[in-house]
Subunit: 345 residues, 2 copies
């Protein structure tokens, strides 16, 4: 890297800057025209979970969502990094059941619910986490549904066919990667490749291309008719079921519960955020250098939404605590705050 990315967020303790976060941001339209940018937007970035909506497109375009009667809430969960709350777990289980399979088909691995209260409740009941509690279980249930439809179409046993669906060369993952390539316009054969936390491949893509892709998802421009229709359906599903895409207290849920279809945003691991602003025809992609999500990437996106999406006092009331959160200590006493230190137009 030739020069340092700009400082985007400062962490204050009292009135002293204790820590700070650097990163890069692309704000782009569906034609790839850069409206605003900070830092290097051409360096490949693993988008991780920020592109789950794109990864869910084949679930819709294939006909699998309809073939297995997936509800809007289930489609939202297919795009989710959820908190492992009981409703998330039950919804993922139902998706699998509708396709004739169960939790055993999931290849995402297990972890305790990311929502702390759900973890405490699970332990209190003497439980231990399974694959359904994995924050990616809805996405993986969607992959399994897609695999079951492909199996049906090709005359295979669904359980046998879906086995290994996380591998890059599996028919399911080939569909998923093809959608990512179509939406972002990046040749994935030449992109850096890694393995995600849930074992599927992740590809390094420039923020410029990711933001362009999200502008396309929000407007339909530059997408095939099928992809445009599927993107619209998934965006609507998330807007109507924002709890499903994240969960209690979470940024994405709080933003979309208020903004509805006006903002479609999705966090990814390691400080990535992508968003579509359909009204403005813009896409946003950002990455914090240090991989910090919970405070840095969220503050940056909230700041961008204050300028790019907020219209009235109610909008600002939702965004203000997200763009400038107060930090509390273990006695609930305010000891610091976060603030964005860049200036979007």
């Amino acid at each position: 890297m030739s020069s340092a990315h700009p400082v985007l967020v400062e962490v204050l303790r009292g009135d002293t800057v204790e820590s700070f976060h650097r990163g890069s941001i692309a704000v782009v339209d569906a034609h790839g025209r850069v409206v605003q940018a900070w830092g290097d937007i051409d360096r490949p970035v693993f988008p991780r979970s920020a592109v789950k909506l794109i990864q869910a497109l084949p679930l819709v375009t294939s006909g699998a969502a309809d073939a297995f009667g997936l509800s809007e809430a289930q489609l939202a969960l297919a795009c989710a990094s959820h908190g492992g709350e009981p409703e998330h777990v039950a919804t993922a289980a139902a998706m699998l059941a509708q396709a004739g399979l169960d939790e055993a088909a999931l290849e995402c691995g297990s972890h305790w619910p990311s929502y702390a209260e759900a973890t405490h409740a699970l332990a209190r009941q003497g439980g231990t986490p399974g694959a359904l509690h994995n924050n990616c279980s809805g996405k993986h249930a969607g992959f399994v549904c897609l695999g079951c439809l492909l199996a049906r179409q090709q005359g295979h046993d669904p359980r046998d066919f879906v086995h290994g669906y996380v591998q890059p060369g599996h028919p399911v993952m080939r569909e998923v990667s093809a959608a990512l390539q179509a939406v972002t316009g990046v040749d994935l054969n030449t992109a850096p490749q890694g393995t995600d936390g849930c074992s599927i491949p992740t590809f390094g893509l420039p923020l410029r291309a990711l933001a362009t892709g999200f502008a396309r998802l929000g407007t339909g421009q530059g997408l095939s008719t099928d992809h445009a229709a599927a993107a619209r359906r998934l965006r609507q599903a998330i807007a109507r079921h924002p709890f499903m895409v994240a969960g209690s207290g979470r940024f994405d849920t709080r933003v979309m519960a208020h903004f509805g279809e006006r903002v479609c945003c999705k966090v990814g691991a390691e400080g990535v955020f992508c968003a579509a602003l359909p009204e403005a025809g813009l896409g946003i992609a950002l990455k914090m250098d240090d991989g910090n999500n919970a405070r840095a990437a969220e503050v940056v996106l909230a700041r961008l939404l204050q300028r790019g999406a907020a219209r009235d006092a109610a909008d600002h009331a939702v965004l203000a605590p997200l763009a400038g959160p107060t930090l509390l200590n273990w006695n609930g006493r305010a000891v610091g705050s976060l603030r964005a230190v860049f200036d979007p137009v």
Copy 2:
């Protein structure tokens, strides 16, 4: 800040750099001579929990540790950011009982144990966390013991006297701040001040001064006779009870369980680490810009210890996985790694 701090740690997914961490480091002797430095070591940094050993000095020098018969394990816990494991909780409770008080005297606030398995076990038993589970409960139990001795000496009721001990102007906290000033040589009246997670004051000190202070703790040079003896006693206590200062699987515990008195290190919140290397007569203080502890600050310190403390293959075997950890995904599959990208002499 005039220029960006150097990148000290890279996070790789596959063979691609996904994230990276910048920071500053001071390696200094007891006379304040800088042996090596990266970034700005004169900017004030809140050391947070990294100076707990210094904050525990008055517990020893006042005579409170002996008056209440504190064991070596209890002295180690007074310097700890512990995981809230049952042995930590029981030891903190015993410290308070020996001073004639109980958990109600603690003013650190409550949180679930930072060691995940301890949280699951507590929830499984139907429990909820109290102040004893707070990672700072040993330090606060030490403050309470100090307060009880001062109360006894001054003829006050101990419970009344210790009330409000976290406030900057309380006699207990004045003793604690005086020790910090004496060891680091910084006038705290002119230092930035904030409130720590456990509600006591924290002061912004240059890494240069923190590293000098740790060189003094490790050698006794530049300290009063009382402070030098107390520092030696606390370092020995930690070296003999490394579990008490952190806990299962934790960096500080793993390092000191092997190195004993050859390394005395302590993590602090927001990416701070301080260490004394008594044999080399050096102190280390470092701060990651972004506040990342668990991966960034640890990798940096492990790299410094590889050059500054490791003598043989056994030493290197302990440090190698800490300086270059493998990152596993939810299926236990290696998907990445961390690496230090600076070169200590």
